[in-house]
Subunit: 158 residues, 2 copies
DNA sequence: CTTGACCTTAGATTTAACTCTAAGGTTTAT
DNA sequence: ATAAACCTTAGAGTTAAATCTAAGGTCAAG
């Protein structure tokens, strides 16, 4: 049995957050002490960890509520319903991964096009790409910066 | 040249949102008409699309501002700075992808363990897993549901 | 020359998810 | 037996990112 502050510390959230989750039906302590203190079981803690994992990955609290709340009402749901929900979330996650991958590729391309040296960013491929949103092209620091102690490199050039 | 409503419609945002972005320094129209109407160029539109792409993938507006604002101040940044920022965002994105993958695997495991049929969810592997957060184990609908017109399947069983 | 669709500003409201405040009761340690 | 650290509730405040409202100016069509 944890008191609210203990569970909060254990899971690195604020006690306020746990009260908030309770108010919103995500997580209620299994017991109260005589004096009314919340008492959380290890199961409660597991549930909290699930919530936090789900949250860390971009689920909203209402999505998490939805995911967890079927449980209160089990017998009125079929496996198909439950699996359907999971599969929708799964599709969401896959979509997000795809979006992130798209962006990761863009960022990688930007990163690769920039020499990353101490030259002024005035001719930086990254900034040019952000400005014009055209295809990333490679830097060529051939103009004189007054700096000659290193070479620029560009992975796109090979 | 687009007026605010045209650009908004084109990019599927509200005109309000564009004013909001302007107020927060993300995107200003290149011109104003005589009567004070905002006039956006194709470049402005590209910039908006970049913002929206970044947003779709989980960047906050202030991260986007940061990413875009270096541009106003180019000569005071070195390529190293710019590339550094991009690489930090890249690492963020990769981290998010990793988190999402972790979750995707969990969801997939849940999905695979559930027969997905019309049986009551009272013995649903998914709900049991959410409840107890223990390892997903396979459903066995051997008890009588009064439903016999199909077989349950479980990918974990093979 | 007016109707309707558009635009302007400033500022209030919304939603999600906390986070904090006030006013007080409980537990533990000294 | 009292201070410090905890807990209670109700309700207000915060932040991000819009979204809406009010009060009015502009513009093209009939």
């Amino acid at each position: 049995m944890f008191r609210i502050g203990e569970l909060a510390k254990e899971c690195e959230v604020k006690a306020d957050t746990l009260r908030f989750y309770e108010k919103h039906g995500l997580l209620s302590p299994s017991m109260r002490s005589e004096s009314g203190y919340r008492l959380y079981t290890e199961q409660d803690a597991e549930r909290l960890r699930f919530i936090l994992r789900a949250k860390a990955v971009g689920f909203t609290l209402s999505e998490i509520t939805e995911l967890l709340s079927i449980d209160l009402d089990k017998s009125n749901w079929a496996c198909a319903d439950v699996k359907g929900m999971v599969d929708i979330k799964l599709a969401n996650v896959e979509e997000k991964i795809a979006e992130l991958n798209h962006f990761r590729v863009s960022l990688q391309r930007l990163s690769d096009a920039c020499c990353g040296g101490p030259e002024s960013a005035e001719h930086c491929s990254i900034l040019e790409a952000l400005e014009s949103n055209v295809e990333v092209k490679c830097e060529n620091h051939s103009h004189d910066h007054g700096e000659t102690e290193y070479k620029t490199s560009c992975k796109l050039k090979g």
